[in-house]
Amino acid sequence: MQSDPPAQLPGGVARIPDRDEAELAARARAGDRAAFGTLVERFAPQARRIARAVLQNPDDADDAAQDAFLSALVKLDQYDPRRPFGPWLMRIVANAATDRRRRRAVRQAEALEPELAGGGSRPDLDAERRALGERLRAALAQLPERRRLAVVLFDVEGYSHAEIADILSIPEGTARSEVFHARRTLRSLLQDWKEGE
């Protein structure tokens, strides 16, 4: 039962040392624009993926991620520098995305592109990847929001169960359970995809 975050995120992305994050956050809080810019650059891809996991629509996701960064800038005095910055920020991102989803009636059907239905000639590799991406997004959209956030935070962003529990404000056991159930659904989809190739 580990809960320590890995030194490297999936995809080979190095995890930012916590002290570095805390220092950047402190400098940003003091009005250092460059420090805030560095934090935005470092966390933007992650924040946008998390927001997209909630909202599905990439434009909505970017709006939510932007809201989250601006909200974080205003709330920097509430950040505890003894704790890692990522989960604190991702909590704000998840809340911003959820708020936006509630405000706007996001039609999940929009995420389903008709490309999937295409049979005919064998698509090239890019088209295959695109189609797999579409299927995964469609499968994610079928999952309850918390479950889809949990699996993305765990398998894509490399957060521990404890950190996910903190981000989603749920018990750690529930975070584990959510990741497990989401994985089961998504792995089954991936398996079907591979067998269908």
């Binding site: 624009r33 800038l73 797999l132 991406g133 995964l136």
Partner: protein, 123 residues
């Protein structure tokens, strides 16, 4: 892909990579630029808000002081209006009978009245 045990604590690289690719956002540079531009606006607004707050506080204090000053001035003016007296009233009140006759007479005083007034003053 190996089926995992319940609550497997290890990240699944294959699923993670597939999900990452599915959720990968477009070019980050425009997004970062957009966020930083908005952050500048937010900072500017935050700088402005305290200024307006201070001005509002000053305005409130100023209005209260002006009202108080107006009340005091009004009260003082009212008192002054009530107690306004002419020079003649004052002199008549403080003078004796000779001076009284000298001041209140509609006609030009004769020498006896002037003399009486001077004698009273000497006393």
């Amino acid at each position: 892909m190996e089926p995992s045990l319940p609550f497997d604590h290890r990240a699944d690289p294959e699923l993670g990579a597939a999900l990452r690719a599915a959720l990968e956002p477009a070019d980050p540079a425009p997004f970062v630029a957009r966020v930083l531009a908005q952050a500048e606006l937010t900072r500017a607004r935050r700088r402005d808000v305290p200024t307006w707050d201070i001005l509002a506080r000053w305005a409130r204090a100023g209005i209260a002081a002006a009202v108080a000053a107006a009340l005091v001035a009004g009260f003082a003016m009212g008192r002054a209006m009530q107690s306004r007296a002419t020079l003649d009233d004052v002199m008549v009140a403080s003078a004796g009978a000779g001076a009284n006759a000298l001041l209140s007479s509609p006609r030009a005083p004769d020498a006896s009245v002037v003399f009486t007034s001077l004698v009273e003053r000497e006393r």
